[in-house]
Subunit: 123 residues, 2 copies
DNA sequence: TTTCTGATTAGACATCCGTCTATGTACGAC
DNA sequence: GTCGTACATAGACGGATGTCTAATCAGAAA
């Protein structure tokens, strides 16, 4: 395979948003150290499903009780994964009476999306 | 050189730009099991920088020798991280003479971007 | 051929991670 | 108050991960 064509990677027009920020300029060590934990938080199948399940729940939030029954791991394990998501800044939670509700922090998703998406920097 | 392609998760419904696919519908266990390794491959600061460095290199590719000098870890460690990126379907490589060149597999970035970005199909 | 350089592989090692059980805490009902 | 339920925390355990050194492989040049 020669480097005949690498369509999405060529900065053909320097004026246009050629590619995602990740591909436009090398990440600094500091940036990488900030971003990697966010990817790491989503790097587990259970957490990825938890994140998606919270995001797609009615009202944009879900209580732990509903999340727990959707998986086959123990309740403390769910609690652990939720904490990882929380500490990564991906979700937040609040106790309301008996139940604890989790929701997405939209900035987190937007940050990752902006990092990976070509046109995102123009917005 | 590895050429494994991970299946593409794409609800592909341009008529519903409400939110990212991740937030539109809960991920299945199988989808999560497919996607989590890609996030995991980017979940290390060195690998994240390697990925970005390759992507932003002139011609969209970089040789290992250039990548190695950009970090303070040993050359075998760089080689290890490059393999992780390769096995996640994020990059591919080829030996040309003395040097081995790496480049991004564009679908990988597009896959993640589509997962996280609202109305990704419109891009 | 031999030698040198670039890169991968092998193996070891310390640390991290995901999971569990057991326990603790918060809240509502009685 | 006590009891029961929802959730978090503590600690332990096995397996995965990131890093290193040493060895090996691949190609170019003398």
């Amino acid at each position: 395979m020669s480097k005949k064509e690498l369509p999405l990677l060529q900065p053909a027009d320097p004026a246009a948003p050629c590619c995602s920020p990740l591909a436009r300029e090398p990440l600094s060590g500091a940036e990488a150290a900030t971003l990697a934990p966010v990817f790491k938080a989503l790097a587990d199948p259970v957490r990825l499903r938890l994140f998606s399940l919270i995001a797609s729940s009615a009202g944009g939030q879900a209580c732990v009780c509903d999340l727990t029954v959707a998986f086959e791991v123990s309740q403390p394990t769910i609690s652990h994964h939720l904490r990882v998501l929380r500490e990564a800044g991906l979700v937040d939670c609040e106790r309301r009476g008996t139940w604890v509700y989790y929701w997405l922090l939209p900035n987190a998703l937007a940050r990752l999306s902006a990092l990976l998406t070509p046109a995102a920097a123009a917005a």
